[in-house]
């Protein structure tokens, strides 16, 4: 059964139909990309999945159970974590604290445990910090644990956002343009990271403009244009789909493919 199911999802902002009647499914342990020209509604679809925007109509199912209408924190707790297109780290918190915020919801210490520094709270803080440091090290951020998020170089901020999302114990990871602003070397590392996360059992759903990354990493690709799904399939199928080429390059260009 599919892990995530979008059933006729629509989102309307006043007179603007940002997403209309989009349906697709994401299989467990797959890497699915969503592409489309600017303004196609990709990020809006992400925001609908993570509960930031309420749906206008349609349904979103996680493991067959509807999650539409749930608040964002509940959806995160059910196993959908995300990063943002314009990085949204807690800029005046240290890198390790950013990751520990991700662990917030499954930590057990209550308010009074924290206030009284009970053994439960102290042990938990220590063990979560240890895990956060290990996670940072695994993502190549080990030297930066004590730095403020805003002081990290741009590429590492993107990684830190992934680390924070991973700390929420997700099953499905949503990446909103993870390769934006990265150099070639960093993009190669990112693709390796995405593959590694899938091998560890994660399902990954990403929005990306960089076609090399998309083509190389994805199992399936969903193409949006003007809020509608115009194509879906394996990279090779999508690459040759005339509607996709038309959406990207305009009519009459269907014989040439963007190879970038």
């Amino acid at each position: 059964m599919a892990l995530l199911d979008l059933v006729n999802v629509s989102k309307r902002f006043g007179g603007l139909q940002a997403v209309s009647n989009v349906s697709f499914a994401i299989e467990d342990r797959a890497i699915v990309s969503m592409i489309g020209p600017n303004g196609a509604g990709k990020t809006t679809a992400f925001n609908c999945v993570t509960g930031l925007f309420p749906l206008s109509s349609g349904q979103i199912l996680l493991d067959g159970i509807s999650i539409s209408g749930l608040p964002p924190h509940r959806i995160t707790r059910l196993g959908i974590a995300r990063t943002f297109q314009n990085i949204r780290l807690f800029s005046y918190m240290t890198a390790v604290d950013n990751v520990m915020v991700g662990a917030h919801w499954w930590m057990k210490a209550h308010v009074w445990d924290g206030a009284l520094r009970t053994p439960l709270s102290r042990h938990e803080e220590r063990s979560v910090e240890r895990r956060a440091l290990a996670l940072l090290e695994g993502l190549g951020l080990s030297g930066y644990a004590g730095s403020y998020a805003r002081e990290l170089p741009y590429g590492l901020q993107r990684r830190l956002e992934i680390a924070r999302a991973l700390a929420t114990r997700p099953r499905l990871l949503l990446l909103d343009e993870p390769a934006a602003g990265l150099n070639t070397q960093e993009k190669i590392e990112l693709m390796a990271l995405i593959g590694r996360l899938r091998d560890e059992g994660l399902t990954i759903f990403l929005i990306e403009h960089d076609m090399r990354v998309v083509m190389e990493v994805s199992d399936r690709i969903v193409v949006l244009d003007h809020g509608e799904k115009i194509a879906e399939g394996k990279p090779i199928e999508v690459r040759e789909n005339p509607r996709v080429i038309e959406a990207y390059l305009g009519t009459g260009a269907s014989q040439e493919m963007p190879t970038a």
Binding site: F13, P72, H73, T76, R77, S91, D97, H104, G143, Y148
Partner: protein, 523 residues
């Protein structure tokens, strides 16, 4: 390669360390100066150690006078040393090593000599001994001696253990402030008014500042009506410990009732308003802060006694000690309570909840997407802030024994907000410092300026300069003090006297950040 990006470990800590060093060395000079000048202002005819310099100047007679000259010289060195240091810093020069040693010697010598003269006058030779000269032991003098001795002690600490003060600023600050707080009633045991002031204003406002700091500093929610929760705590105390409803509960039960009632009201206010942010939340809380005193004025449900308030609140007692006749006990119990609150807040700040507050302050949308229930976490900040305020209110009620709606006007909210802005939003040590400075100026120095200016401008006073000074009413300038303090802080140190390490001025980023509700189109 990568290590060039790495922040030097502890650099933020060191920056704050040097601030603490400055504050402590200026405090030391201030205490010395106060010790020297106090009797001169309060009682120009008193004579004793550190008092009436004109007496000693006019007829230098005894051995003690000679010692007092030496003490004065050490005092001068210590009082001038911050100025010298500022001058050195402006000229971008380091003070030579010998300066530190000279200041340490001056501090230790001054301390030793002050103790020696005081013991001589007080216990060994007795007053008016011919070998001593015209000095005397006197109550004002005793307070002055305490201040002087404390000033020397602080100076000895900062100049003698400079590197340690720089490396452990918070410990050093606590080491100076805590004993001073604990000893205050002993220093001023002859001045019950002063003790009542210290308990009612200093300690209560410290508690209020700590409580508001949870809401504004940690969670980043601007609350302009904080006095409402203070009022609720005070009225809860007044209702359960006065002839008004014929209920007489002890204060130790009441503080919990006050805290609980206030936190319930915090939840009631918070639940519908917390989707607002920045300016909008500020306006709603401002309205709440106006409504509560208005309800009290209109004697809602017959509970609040109308404009004249509730009077005859019980004076608490522990066994045979009645707090009404021994006001220092108010002070001490508030001090202990404040220490407990500070410890709990420090722990909370570094716990799971504190991290969630900061995350919401930094980016509410990202916090929600990271699994934090923003509504309940913000509500918790509101309720906890309100409960600390309720505690303070319960104590306030039993100190002043009468609560009226005017006690909780907008100016109280402004005072508390000024305290935390002045001290450093989000930093507990800073808030304590801010409440010290501001309550001292607003509630003690300004009212006493009137007395002093009268004394000083009296024709028979030896330093009778500026005769017009006696006609100025200094208490009129309370709001000017707030205004000037806030403007100066924003211009010179926007983070406050002791900025929190990861400080982000909520007032300055209100526009750029958006609330979760706004993103979802629900606000």
């Amino acid at each position: 390669m990568l290590r060039f990006f790495r922040r030097p470990v502890g650099s933020a800590q060191r920056a704050q360390g040097s601030t603490v060093f400055w504050i402590l060395s200026v405090t030391a000079s201030g205490l010395l100066l106060m010790g020297w000048l106090l009797p001169w202002f309060v009682e120009p005819t008193a004579s004793g150690i550190g008092t009436s310099p004109q007496d000693v100047l006019l007829n230098p007679a005894g051995f003690a006078d000679f010692l007092i000259y030496v003490i004065a010289a050490t005092m001068l060195i210590l009082v001038l040393s911050p100025l010298v240091e500022i001058a050195a810093r402006i000229r971008k020069r380091q003070l030579p090593q010998i300066a530190d040693r000279a200041r340490l010697i001056a501090a230790v010598a001054g301390l030793a000599l002050t103790v020696a003269v005081w013991l001589l006058v007080r216990y060994i030779l007795g007053p008016r001994d011919s070998t001593l000269g015209p000095i005397d032991s006197h109550t004002v003098t005793d307070s002055a001696v305490w201040l002087t001795m404390y000033g020397y002690g602080v100076a000895a600490l900062v100049y003698g253990a400079r590197t340690w003060v720089l490396s452990r600023p918070n410990v050093a600050f606590g080491l100076v402030v805590l004993p001073f707080g604990a000893l205050l009633p002993l220093m001023f045991h002859q001045a019950p008014d002063f003790l009542l002031w210290a308990a009612a204003s200093l300690a209560v406002y410290t508690l209020l500042g700590l409580g508001l700091n949870i809401v504004v500093g940690f969670a980043g929610l601007l609350d302009l009506g904080y006095a409402a929760f203070f009022a609720i705590g005070a009225y809860a105390c007044a209702s359960f410990a006065s002839p008004n409803h014929h209920i007489h509960l002890p204060l130790w039960v009441l503080i919990f009732i006050g805290a609980a009632v206030a936190s319930v009201f915090g939840g009631i206010l918070g639940a519908p308003t917390l989707r607002l942010r920045g300016d909008y939340l500020a306006i709603v809380t401002l309205g709440f802060g106006e409504i509560i005193p208005d309800l009290a004025t209109n004697n809602v449900l017959g509970l609040t006694g109308g404009p004249s308030g509730i009077s005859g609140i019980d004076q608490p007692s522990i066994g045979p000690i009645n707090f009404g006749t021994n006001p220092q006990w108010f002070y001490w119990s508030l001090l202990i309570l404040s220490i407990i609150v500070v410890l709990l807040l420090r722990n909370t700040e570094h716990s799971r909840l504190g991290r969630a507050w900061v995350a919401i302050r930094e980016d509410e949308v990202a916090a929600a997407a990271t699994g934090i229930n923003t509504t309940s976490t913000k509500l918790l900040a509101f309720a906890m802030g309100a409960s600390v305020s309720g505690l303070a209110g319960a104590f306030y009620g039993s100190i002043v024994t009468i609560v009226t709606p005017e006690d909780f006007s907008f100016s109280v909210s402004v005072a508390v907000l000024s305290i935390i802005v002045l001290g450093g939003i989000g930093n507990i040590t800073g808030v304590i410092l801010g409440s010290f400075v501001l309550t001292l100026v607003i509630f003690w120095i300004l009212p006493h300026m009137n007395e002093w200016s009268m004394t000083v401008s009296a024709p028979d006073h030896p330093i009778s300069f500026l005769p017009g000074l006696g006609t100025v009413n200094f208490t009129q300038y309370t709001y000017m003090v707030y205004g000037v303090a806030l403007i100066l802080m924003m211009l010179l140190r926007p983070g406050g006297l002791l900025p929190s390490r990861a400080r982000r001025v909520e007032l300055e980023k209100g526009i750029e950040s958006e609330s979760l509700a706004a993103v979802q189109g629900r606000a």
